[in-house]
Symmetry: D2
Subunit: 344 residues, 4 copies
């Protein structure tokens, strides 16, 4: 932290979902963002650390609204976010939104995938898709950042180098395994411990909401009309973590050496995205903003398999949001973000 | 049980691995197979239920060798099995082997995949690959049954209907998720609870030993020379269960309706292999011999995705072994086998 | 099974809670009880195995009411049970109730501990408290059996020998650890996988509903007015299993040898309650009707510590219910009940 | 951090056990302690983050010995620590030892409880028992701090206020539940995921090594000759966390109000030890240096029950070590220590 750095007043909207609580944990000691407001409709007035004792010594109470912050981290579900965000922007605040509300560029996708007409479609073009490693140039000027979903983050960090370098055919399978916190704090029978423990299952056949987002972003790297994307999410019995195993066919004449070299160059110098020499474990990333990427060429089948691992609530949500905000304000990218996983 | 049915004396060799203990649990109350001998080099002389208290009231002690049984379930690692099995057969016993020792038809695959010359290669041709639902005609006459591995069972039950009916191109990806018991009871750091809990990872890049077995069996259903098989096993934090998510491209002009009809016919009347109308959960199968198969056609990508779920120690090992033995002796196929999973 | 044994038509009321589903699993192959009716208000008309695919091949549909069964297993919450059970009895059916509705002898305890006046208090005296190992003499004539709760079963099997033989002072601490399924299938935030996983906590301070039941039964073995009982339940991150660690002070002049001898005699010949020579593991009991009891005298502190382990849904609920029903009808006590745990 | 603060060169000895790796994670960003050396016999020369990828960007390699550090965190097993620590002190380094090597004041306890004669018994008197909240006055001058074990930390923080204020009789039961990482990284069959998952058990009957340590410290607060201590450790299926449920009988005439007031005063102003108004969850503490303490008076039995929760690798090991080191050097006590748990 530069000594003269002023503190920037910051808010978290909806600090009671898993994404919101994780923002609170990470912002608690951020050297520049000064967390002064946390909203939660149902808990307004209560001390944050009485509702979430894990927040130890945090000295804040929930409020109903944002009043004084310059930068606002919005951790609402997507539909309420479509309504609040324009209002925040109108009040000259900068917004980092963790929901899907502003991730898709094409407004017509909202009725189809989310079931409503987007009430602020004009903002879809302006919003910067906040996969931090790609979005760096656009973030300093951004008013609104739409942070990627956890699955898209894992899939895109795994596949982008190969697709943008034309190493593979645009015929992609993403088989992703997620811990239960990815589904949020809402109660459904499938989230019951006794149902989810000692269980693995696939879901989302017929269309998971993260599909169009992955499709949109991969389609920007490859001929979108040729892109053939299958995305199968799975639930595995753990709280945090996503492992994405991605499959594509090598383009003709592409060698394994070329593949590894492209990945090396793509992530050389990256702090959070780390090329792994062993198949990565989600456990390596627990509580940190790390994402491990492991490309492997299977010569016999001429397939490229890329495995990525991250913590869905950090690099897949709150951590990436802070990383983006750091970049928006010209701060060191890793400010306030853990680079070390809680192991074991 | 027919009243006049004589009891058939049966043995389990190496009753101290997970496959062996599961055989003991299942055979404890088999109405025909009379479990009279259980071997375990290191525990000979000890009461079985003092070493494994879960075996409750089992009134047997471990012995060093098989002396009196007609049918022998061998739960050794593969290399010791290659040596013991010929000896058992020479003594006119029938053998159900749970290891890989006699699964591959081509002897040259053993040096490459298992690291040794097969000492009893002549038996590889005779051995019946014991995927019970396929092997029925050959089992009554079999002297030696080589039970499939847990991954191959999951993959083959998922894919065989499509491949044998020519519904898909022979370009296959099997992304499989397994609980930790699949790796057996041996101690490696990756099996440590603190390492494996809250963790998901892929492994086996460069060649998992189940690959040639899946390749051999799928290659019998499709032109083997065209078969392009990628198999990626994963460990997920649960004790039992395999979920295999299998991907293939539909052959031209094949409709979704045709696919579902073929699967319906393939498993119509099967007791243990059940076509599911929902994405299956491994939890549905815990402790039972059930396998759920869920085919879904993704029209946009023209992919067939088939998910299968089973208990790796039952349908993937001990249960299938007993199912095969039932068929060898002309008994009802489900004799002594649980058709209900322990839920939750 | 005796060959001439007639089948007894049996029903499960509320087959959709965890206790109910477990009854279905266990009754599926009972040689005498013929499961012909399963009720579930909300699911009436649906096939049982479409709602619970784990029930594999079960060929039954949920119904709204019991019409034809002689023996009825009631798996309702306690208050609805107080209303249904008298009606079932009036129709000359025998009832095995898994709830607390008829466990307490003193009607005045219901307003205090359960929040309602008992509408069928006259039955409280008649109901047999169905801890099978103790209740044997009264079961053949019983019309109504009130099966113990899962915690009381664990505590009573651990402590009864010591208390009834006067080996300890009536000053008792029961520190019990339960898996999540003990709390049933209802949704509360504490049951959410992400909350319960990687977590241990105590609860029920100020009075858990199983306290008066443990107090009543221990008070029948020791001077009730001297009994000083502390019961602290805990939740640990597993689906099934209860481990009860029970503490008492040895009475003067009681030796360790006496203690062990009393326990040996108490459980000698028992099939399901097994004296353990090692600290027991809940895993030994998974899916089975086993209960392990491990008494240990700590000479320095002159304390008796008794650890018991069981599966809360089997010996702690559905299994014990069937064990009682077997005894009601003069059947072998273990009929249809697993004596082997699913391990690992 | 004060701007003029010099960095203090620091080492971790044996950075490959769980305690050692946790020290590395926490010290990675300590503003004053400058982690410059990490030893590991077997891994010397390897990059720390290649052996432990969770350590993300840590730029250090393992070495064989400590050469340049002023303060040394020793994370060896106890017996090797008895040999290394005197040597480190002789070289004028200050030592924070995480093992039991210097925790017991009475040398005669080592042969009995640890199986060897203590080779540096003279240091046992000098060593400060580093339960940070109690040891503050002695830490600034300490050359050698013996950090408490994880179980003793949980038990002592729960019980010390009551015992030192004479609120309870010195008749104590500590029933503690621990995650698996407490047993370290060594491989035993009980640590195998398939054995430990879905399992709860007690262990250590006949004497757990933490018993004399708890006895020594409680005996300093109450008449040691009257102290009657029972300590029962349990393993529950989670990686991290200890929940200690402690039982004692209230002294005559002590009221509940007095108890709560004493606890309030004892922990008023403490940053890491937090009095809870709800039964605490180990999950609240994951990855943080927090310890929650929850006293409850059961009026009917006149028992005091105190539940404490902490992360065994942080407040129970590495975090407390750093807390002590902060105090040794006059730094703010929380320097570099997380006050927020990773939730969920």
């Amino acid at each position: 932290m530069r000594q003269s750095q002023r503190r920037i007043p910051a808010a978290v909207v909806n600090g009671t979902g898993y994404g919101g609580v994780e923002l609170l944990r990470l912002l608690a000691h951020h050297p520049v963002f000064d967390l002064i407001e946390v909203t939660a409709r149902s808990e307004a007035g209560k001390a944050v650390n009485s509702v979430f004792p894990s927040l130890g010594t945090m000295n804040l109470a929930f409020t109903a609204t944002v009043e004084r912050s310059e930068v606002v981290f919005v951790a609402l579900p997507d539909q309420p976010a479509t309504e609040l965000v324009p209002e925040l922007l109108a009040n000259a605040r900068r917004v980092v939104d963790l929901s899907a509300a502003f991730r898709l560029h094409d407004p017509s996708l909202y009725p189809r995938w989310y079931g409503y007409e987007h009430p602020a479609a004009a903002l879809l073009e302006e919003a910067v898709y906040g996969l931090a490693e790609w979005a760096r140039p656009r973030l300093p000027a951004a008013r609104l950042v739409a942070c990627p979903g956890c699955y898209p983050t894992a899939a895109l960090l795994a596949l982008a180098p190969a697709l943008s370098a034309g190493l593979v055919l645009p015929d992609i399978i993403v088989d992703a395994k997620s811990g239960l916190s990815g589904a949020g704090r809402k109660l459904t029978i499938g989230m019951h411990y006794s149902e989810a423990n000692e269980d693995t299952s696939a879901y989302g056949f017929g269309g998971h909401r993260h599909w169009p987002e992955i499709h949109q972003e991969l389609g920007a790297l490859a001929p979108a009309e040729l892109l053939r994307l299958t995305f199968t999410p799975h639930l595995v019995p753990m709280t945090r973590g996503i492992l994405a195993t991605c499959y594509a066919t090598l383009a003709p004449d592409v060698s394994a050496e070329t593949v590894y070299e492209v990945y090396r160059q793509s992530y050389d110098g990256e702090l959070f995205v780390r090329l792994s020499t062993l198949p990565p474990h989600t456990k390596w990333t627990l509580g940190s903003n790390l994402c491990f990427v492991y490309p492997v060429v299977e010569t016999e089948s001429r397939r490229l398999i890329v495995v990525s691992a991250l913590d869905n609530l950090v690099k897949g949500a709150a951590g990436q949001a802070i990383q983006c905000a750091n970049l928006m304000y010209g701060l060191p990218e890793h400010q306030g973000l853990p680079c070390e996983g809680v192991y074991p």
